[in-house]
């Protein structure tokens, strides 16, 4: 009855907002269950707009995992865009789920996936719109248990006051375990505190209210301890050893509106063994686990049949490393050519068997080519352990141009440790060489209209990487480097995009922030910050005001070089890779030494300690 009215009130707002399809629901394959027949109602939140959140694979996996349970239901929640949020506040409409437009506060659990730091204010925005107290300690059983996971949960501290429990690592199994615990607690009628205590005993779960942090005079962390016995000192991440056995959706919601990644997403493998030293995902998602070709083909069949999508993408951190890629690509083509299903291969490593797969992809539809070079010179690529050479790039683009491609994207970072002016100028140098490779391709062979899209982002040092000790360049230095790059990037056929350093600076603060930065996030939100990842909403001034009001120096987190041995806010987490390994990699980076892919020999990163990890290698 209450939901009926809320639904109507939401509906009335839809005539007054920019993109009503974001809130509409009613999509193909959405799961709608009778709430009276389940024990746990789980709201799964993505702290951004619908079209971004719907593109996230992990959310889709967990939506499916939860809805497969007979005793639970899962409904989606996204951050209402500013126009909708303002209307909701004006009309007293609380945050609602997409499926049944039920108030989020009435759910038993609220899962939040943490994909990027700049969505943190959106989490507060959602809690506030839902009428859920922002601080964990102020919540009662009238509120859901708020659980967060995803890559940013590997440094959970900036959110420690707002989240009841964090779940670290792969969520397929642990999400179900947390549901079991909450269900049992509700049935037994135990206190919310007891429920959190029980959650803290689950593998990979961190309950911040059960730990205390103290600080040295210089501001660094002095100690980080559980406040009571039975709470683990170290939280070990969850890992699904066998991807073939892991749950994967066979049917996904097909949105009406165009979303960012509007296609079938098939995760071919998880983890990456390349060991790029800047890459947090490459460290925290270890070890590499592959799905079998049979399982992938079966999933592709079912998903094409259940969605009608016209495109399949093979996704992972490094799809080119999938051991059976040519076979898989070939079989997918065979199977779906008649149904006009295109295959696209994102984040393709240019040092893999690009050529073979390119010839395959071309048969159905031409998709863009992307090369993540990351740095302009071989010296710097050695420092970051990006095992790609200039010749790899040039031979790949030559093949691509000869194969009829004319559009190439190149990704770079700047502000990397040890970077010099020569390294920076290596970026325009590479772009020039790509342009030349195009014009060296005979006129009749190459496609017309060369487009080299070159983009450079500001390096952000991340927790659990060999660069976690490194300072980030200051905004001023970034801007100087940017000017140098812009001047050198005026090349015909090349479009150059760069990212403003202010957002990256804040990312650097929160990706390595401690508990004291939580107050800043709250203050920034109170000052009106939300959708900070959207350039039209982002206000650096408001953020700086928040730091000032809270007496927190952002440079302490972003621009400070950390000593070996410093206790980090994330040190209590065992992410698989050991600190000894990360430091060893840091030292090798400083010497410009590369570390080979661990598939070619174990590098002792620490994953061998996990049962079932690194099988057969």
């Amino acid at each position: 009855m209450q939901t009926q009215t809320l639904s109507r009130r939401v509906d009335a707002l839809l005539d007054r907002v920019q993109k009503p399809a974001r809130y509409m629901g009613g999509e193909m394959n959405a799961t709608i269950k009778d709430p009276s027949r389940v024990a746990i109602r789980y709201a799964f939140a993505f702290a951004d707009v619908y079209e971004v959140g719907m593109s996230h694979l992990g959310s889709r996996i967990l939506y499916d995992v939860i809805n497969r349970r007979e005793d639970a239901l899962c409904e989606r929640v996204f951050t209402p865009w500013v126009d909708m949020a303002d209307l909701m506040r004006a009309e007293g409409v609380p945050l609602f789920s997409i499926e049944t437009r039920s108030p989020v506060r009435g759910f038993d659990m609220l899962g939040v996936t943490l994909q990027y730091e700049m969505s943190y204010t959106n989490i507060l925005e959602m809690l506030d719109l839902a009428g859920i107290p922002l601080h964990s300690e102020e919540r009662t059983w009238d509120d859901p248990i708020v659980i967060a996971g995803g890559p940013c949960a590997f440094n959970p501290e900036p959110l420690y006051r707002f989240i009841d429990a964090f779940s670290l690592g792969d969520g397929e199994v642990s999400t179900l375990q947390t549901i079991d615990v909450v269900k049992a607690c509700k049935q037994e009628g135990v206190s919310r505190e007891e429920c959190l205590r029980r959650l803290a005993r689950l593998p990979g779960v961190y309950v911040p209210s059960l730990y205390r942090a103290t600080y040295h005079d210089d501001g660094t962390l002095a100690s980080f301890e559980p406040t009571e016995p039975g709470v683990p000192r170290t939280v070990v991440k969850n890992m699904v050893a066998d991807l073939d056995a892991a749950a994967y959706p066979e049917s996904i919601v097909v949105p009406f509106m165009e979303i960012v990644h509007d296609r079938i997403n098939i995760e071919v493998l998880r983890g990456c063994t390349r060991g790029c030293r800047f890459c947090q995902a490459g460290m925290i998602y270890r070890p590499v686990r592959e799905r079998s070709v049979e399982r992938l083909l079966d999933l592709a069949d079912k998903l094409v049949g259940s969605t009608g999508y016209e495109e399949i993408t093979l996704s992972s951190l490094s799809t080119g490393d999938y051991s059976c890629l040519p076979q898989l690509a070939h079989e997918l083509m065979e199977r779906f050519a008649k149904e006009r299903v295109a295959l696209s291969l994102p984040s393709l490593r240019l040092d893999s068997r690009v050529k073979e797969t390119l010839e395959e992809t071309q048969r159905v539809r031409k998709t863009g080519l992307t090369f993540a070079m990351e740095a302009g010179t071989q010296r710097l690529r050695d420092v970051i352990n990006k095992g790609i050479t200039e010749e790899d790039l040039l031979s790949s683009v030559r093949d691509a141009f000869a194969g009829g491609w004319s559009s190439v994207k190149l990704y770079f970072m700047f502000g990397l440790p040890t970077e010099t002016e020569e390294d920076l100028l290596g970026i325009p140098d590479l772009a020039n060489k790509v342009v030349r490779a195009y014009f060296d391709t005979p006129r009749g062979v190459r496609a017309r209209g060369l487009r080299v899209n070159c983009s450079a982002s500001c390096f952000v040092p991340k927790a659990f990487t060999p660069f976690q000790w490194e300072p980030q360049d200051t905004i001023e230095v970034f801007q100087q480097k940017q000017r140098l790059l812009c001047a050198a990037m005026r090349i015909k056929g090349v479009e150059f995009n760069w990212h403003e350093p202010h957002v990256s600076f804040l990312e650097a603060v929160f990706s390595r922030g401690d508990r004291r930065t939580a107050a800043v996030i709250e203050e920034a939100w109170r000052l009106g910050c939300r959708f900070d990842g959207w350039s039209d909403q982002f206000s650096f001034e408001r953020w700086m005001q928040a730091f000032e009001r809270c007496g927190v120096d952002p440079a302490f987190y972003a621009n400070r070089r950390r000593e070996r041995g410093e206790l980090f806010p994330w040190s209590f987490i065992d992410a698989g890779v050991t600190e000894a390994y990360l430091w060893r990699e840091h030292e090798r980076a400083m010497r410009g030494e590369i570390t080979p892919d661990c598939r070619k020999g174990c590098q002792g990163c620490g994953l061998k300690r996990f049962e079932g990890a690194c099988v057969g290698r």
């Binding site: 509906d11 399809a21 509409m24 009613g26 999509e27 193909m28 009406f256 049949g305 009608g308």
Partner: protein, 229 residues
């Protein structure tokens, strides 16, 4: 062979734009397993067209989609097509009827002559507007300002109104109308309503428009649902 599919764009999804609807129908058709025809080229898509695009924000009870099929006559039944479409469409876009026609059947867009709407008027001057309908229709000429993207023209809309009735319920009222819908003379329900309000000396009320039908004109001059033409 072609499949004429009559479906409803329900209230929940009234905000769907034409592109959203196109994508959804393409995907539903792909899932249906019906022998659809694809266009050639790098981005092959299913050959289909809507009889008329329906504005964002307006629901429709009997919208029409025209789909080209690669099938011989008799290979499929209408009931089978309808069942297959309903199995793959979301409940918010239910298929209501299917008619299989020959490739030579006239294009829906060309056969379209009239559209029917219902307009819910909430409160305010609703009753006064409803009461003015008989006198409004008694006029031999109704001049109204028709706006296009580039210009405004004063036209007589009386010949474009084929049917207009009003019903009141308490403070609210409902108008039911059937108006011309051809390229040279399309009367939008909003324009009719504003002209009626001016005539009644009333403020434009809060209103909800829904399209209830798309019609063609039969040989005997009667307006019939397009799918039955």
């Amino acid at each position: 062979m072609r499949m004429l599919l009559q479906f409803a764009k329900t209230d929940t999804v009234r905000h769907l734009g034409l592109l959203d609807l196109q994508r959804t129908m393409q995907r539903a058709l792909r899932r249906s397993g019906l022998p659809v025809r694809y266009s050639s080229g790098f981005n092959p898509h299913i050959v289909m067209s809507f009889a008329s695009a329906l504005s964002t924000g307006v629901p429709g009870d009997a919208e029409l989609l025209d789909v080209a099929l690669e099938a011989q006559e008799g290979a499929l039944t209408e009931a089978e097509c309808l069942a297959r479409m309903n199995a793959v469409l979301p409940p918010t876009l239910p298929a209501e009827r299917v008619r299989l026609v020959d490739d030579r059947f006239p294009k829906l867009g060309a056969a379209l002559a009239q559209a029917a709407y219902s307009v819910e008027l909430a409160g305010g001057d609703a009753a006064r507007i409803a009461g003015a309908v008989p006198d409004y229709l008694a006029q031999s000429q109704i001049m109204a300002l028709r706006k296009s993207k580039t210009r405004e023209t004063l036209v007589d809309i009386r010949p474009m109104i084929h049917d207009l009735t009003a019903k009141t319920a308490g403070e609210d009222a409902r108008l039911t109308m059937r108006v011309s819908f051809v390229e040279a003379a399309t009367l939008k329900p909003e324009l009719l309503l504003s002209s009626l309000c001016t005539f009644a000396g009333a403020e434009m009320p809060v209103c909800r428009i829904r399209r209830t039908g798309l019609l063609g004109v039969a040989a005997d001059g009667r307006a019939v649902p397009l799918i039955d033409l």
